[in-house]
Symmetry: C2
Amino acid sequence: MATPNLLPKAKARVVDIHTHMYPPEYIKVLESRNTIPLVRKFTGAADPRLVLLEAEVPLLESHQQDTSILPGRTLTRHFSSLEQKIHFMDTHQIDISVISLANPWLDFLPSIEAFPSAQSINASFSSMCAVHPGRLYFFAALPLTAPTSLLLDSISALSSLPYCRGVILGTSGLGFGLDDPALLAIFLALADANLPIFLHPHYGLPNSVFGPRSASGEYGHVLPLALGFPMETTIAVARMFLAGVFDKVPNLRMILAHSGGTLPFLAGRIESCIMHDGHLVKRMKDRRTIWEVLRSQVYLDAVVYGEVGLKAAVEASGVDRLMFGTDHPFFPPVRGEEGEEDGEWESVGLNVKAAVKAMGEGEEYDGVMGLNAIRVLRLEGE
Amino acid sequence: MATPNLLPKAKARVVDIHTHMYPPEYIKVLESRNTIPLVRKFTGAADPRLVLLEAEVPLLESHQQDTSILPGRTLTRHFSSLEQKIHFMDTHQIDISVISLANPWLDFLPSIEAFPSAQSINASFSSMCAVHPGRLYFFAALPLTAPTSLLLDSISALSSLPYCRGVILGTSGLGFGLDDPALLAIFLALADANLPIFLHPHYGLPNSVFGPRSASGEYGHVLPLALGFPMETTIAVARMFLAGVFDKVPNLRMILAHSGGTLPFLAGRIESCIMHDGHLVKRMKDRRTIWEVLRSQVYLDAVVYGEVGLKAAVEASGVDRLMFGTDHPFFPPVRGEEGEEDGEWESVGLNVKAAVKAMGEGEEYDGVMGLNAIRVLRLEGE
């Protein structure tokens, strides 16, 4: 392998809080579909492709014309094999992983199917964690479209599962976003159960904003993934903030994917826009500021691929609230060497290097790389 | 006035590079319109309202039902009065302002009207600057929808105007964005004429992404202005970058509004997404990275309303590439005291305080507050 050893020798345990798995039963559901999200085999490609994003639809529809660019991403064994996850952890000296389903979660299923599907997925995750006690925990799937009474029971049940440490949510809520007042009961129950929400994007932004060259595939997935995803997260949290959710549910804790999307950078502009709106100044008089929310109810992963972003995340939320992640199995190496996906991943290295550059290799580094997650998510190990 | 003196005593000259003016002939055009952008008088409101954004249309259409929340913003004399601009500068100890038209620029006009309209606006700006030589410069309007030959002549003419120091552009280009290959000739001409582009958002993001409570006016303009605007700028620059514009026009210089939108924070994720796309890795083999572009072709204003964002902007582009701005006449104080718009503005204070916190009050502060702009934009004074 050409890649150097990416992780500085860890003095403390390393924890990956942003690492996805698609249990086999979930992949089967995706294989059965004709519209996105779906899994499909294409002529000339060894592995099936996982097609998730609206931005990938133009390529999906025109794939016959140019087989050199296939829609979506290769669905390797990294997506569903527990053995592969453990291999990935060992390769990168990751001691503990908090696994979660990846997007699209269960938004695409009729609500009557979503709940039993989530139960099956959470049972699979529980079993996986039990195979490697102390090395694996999980964020549970929670399909918000299910009836509230079922969800409240489910939250209570999740909180007593030995390896469950929170829930992963997308931004759609009941279809009207997470600022929908109908979701307050769920947020209160999650807060009471001490289950943080890992908020993760999926829908990005409408294709139209990225322009015709993006739609033709010329820019790959860069714009929807690098810009659309972080903005989706930012909008979702800002809407919750403006709706007063953080004030109404003071014990709600949220872990934001990708270092908060763009929230650390834009928090000042959000505050200024509120301060300069006469009606909001009156309506939100006793609110906490977005800065206060960032430092008391929000945690950020450290998946931002650069020192500049990571430092801003640290400054916004505090170095004790940042937690390392890999986004595995997404962003595998692409140099095309045989077996390179079994070696070290450059995407992991980028985040590790950013952490080293931003905070050296002392206590703060150890905190971000693992000790913060162990404390925040109660990962006491075996 | 309750506001304390906001500006630390300047050791060097203070320059405002982000400060807008609507010449009277431009306001007349807006008054004549029935669809956005427009200026309209509403019953019960002393001043007319300026309605610019798609996000304001629902309120515009329903304003009869609730006159307590009017669409858009009050069109005060701050928007068009030269005297008021100078008063604002004196109040905030600003020595030099580089004025520019504000959004929506001339995108809304038929192309046959846009070019003469720009000429008239640029002539007005030239005259204003001549009234206060050494205190005022301007970024010219350049309607990209006009025929290329006219634009090339116009660029040549602008470069010989004594007070013109660049052009202000929106993100729409010829309707297909600034990554449209048809615009390369314009970018080359601007680079050759040593006229930087001040890139400024207007369209934001589609209303749909902000959800029903934003559409009902409950969140004011916070989401489109605080999140939509910065993302629009980021998308526009990222598209130019992916299209290779910065490599193809190596002397192109761009000043990005609002500290680059979100570009400093997301640059790492953009780079990572490119590195992990096999096709792009091949196609963009000899490109400069987004980090290199940020440090060689991009300048950022310091209009980000917080220390966290400002530090990230400094780290991304370098402290010698950041330039103070106010965004006047937008974001006036809202406490409702009589005459408060003639006093100090808190929106200005937020950006000054962020600069003091981020870099103290030494040489770097002096650079950001004015000396950088004097050097970069050749504001040699009288």
